[in-house]
Symmetry: C2
DNA sequence: GTTAGCATGTAAGGAGTTACATGATTTT
DNA sequence: AAAATCATGTAACTCCTTACATGCTAAC
């Protein structure tokens, strides 16, 4: 069971990541998700609950009986279902967190992986950051080439949009560079030293799309 | 026929917009699309061709006989199908271009509309730019609130991601402000005066997500 | 003569959304 | 007693992607 190989969307990754910190029920999970996934990009119950069921039948998460805490008996609101990671679920999350392949350079995948970066080893972080960087460099050269070749034929707005996108990517490269430098500087420690040092040293741009 | 009310995805909008400039066949359309839609966010044939058929049966586009130009007889490569806008298609595009409602403030919708901004009236442009701005302001206050409330509980990476997203949105606001100023400055003329003036006056950030 | 690029298409399916259905509990 | 918020869930549908199937022409 809990064999790897399944598709495991970003949503599954995020759910496992959040439940890794603490058991939670769906409604709460959804709110946190919107924080982790970028605030906008709100995910709906229509995808969350089915996802929870999938994870449960895959044996990665399990409904916890409203065991210890939780006020007076089970007089709480409604029959809310608190999920927690199983041992298999923890394994799976660890597996996902350790991935460094090209899948992890994508806008969305990178964003979510970054959000759980502190669960990853320093070398995994390095690898992902560098992969992301190279992905952005590719983008830059495509964009620059396309700008050069179509410059004269495009109207001003289209041009401005392109230019804008280009600067945006350039900015993200600088951001990533700052993060890589921060990883180097802080050497091995589990958490990079005070992130404000890392973060204020460069301009920035959001990594995930939204986009998206 | 060609009644409004249909959903008309962003793809349909983009196709209509491109065909508005010049008749084209699918293969070429697809390449241009990747320029207009942000270079990445490549759209696949699996969605383009069905879309073309939909538009055709809706009477918005029509296959043009390989009429005049086009080299020696029809000895060209393969039986390529050149589409052009019908009168209904032109109407529909004009209708879409004139929309200024909340749908048009979304990341993706805004990006594509901006790409065809020169087909829109000055007041439509104003309206969309201001709507987009207010949408971004909303986002900013949500983000700032969420940062304030969760500051201490979040690990450094999550925090950095949030901070980064925040700056990104702030940057886009400044970009939009610059564009609005440019629209004001150039007053009525169909094209805003030399866009380099508009564009170099502010920092920037990409508007569409592409993701998104 | 085989690879690369042009050109069009289809079938299956993934990932998510909206809108609906239900019901309890807290606030106004 | 009505409205908001908590809480879970389902069904239908949208939009897009991947992978496949086809075949032609140009270059190596």
């Amino acid at each position: 069971m809990a064999r790897s190989g399944s598709k495991s969307s970003l949503l599954e990754f995020a759910v496992l990541g959040l439940l890794h910190d603490a058991p939670m029920h769906g409604y709460e999970l959804r709110k946190r998700l919107n924080g982790v996934l970028g605030t906008f990009h709100a995910i709906s119950y229509g995808s969350l609950y089915p996802c929870l069921r999938t994870l449960e039948s895959a044996g990665l998460i399990a409904a916890a009986g409203p065991a210890s805490s939780e006020g007076p008996a089970l007089s709480g609101k409604r029959a809310r279902i608190v999920y927690e990671l199983t041992a298999d679920g923890k394994d799976r999350f660890a597996e996902l967190v350790a991935e460094t392949g090209p899948e992890t350079w994508d806008d969305d995948a990178f964003g979510i992986r970054f959000a759980f970066f502190s669960s990853a080893d320093a070398d995994v972080r390095r690898h992902i950051l560098e992969g992301r960087r190279s992905r952005l460099e590719e983008r830059l050269s495509t964009l620059r080439a396309s700008l050069r070749s179509t410059r004269e034929r495009l109207d001003n707005y289209t041009l401005e949009l392109q230019r804008h996108g280009l600067e945006s990517v350039e900015r993200e490269v600088r951001w990533i560079d700052g993060l890589i430098a921060g990883e180097d500087g802080a050497a091995r420690p589990r958490t990079p030293r005070s992130n404000s040092e890392v973060s204020t040293m460069t301009g920035s741009d959001r990594p995930g799309s939204t986009h998206r």
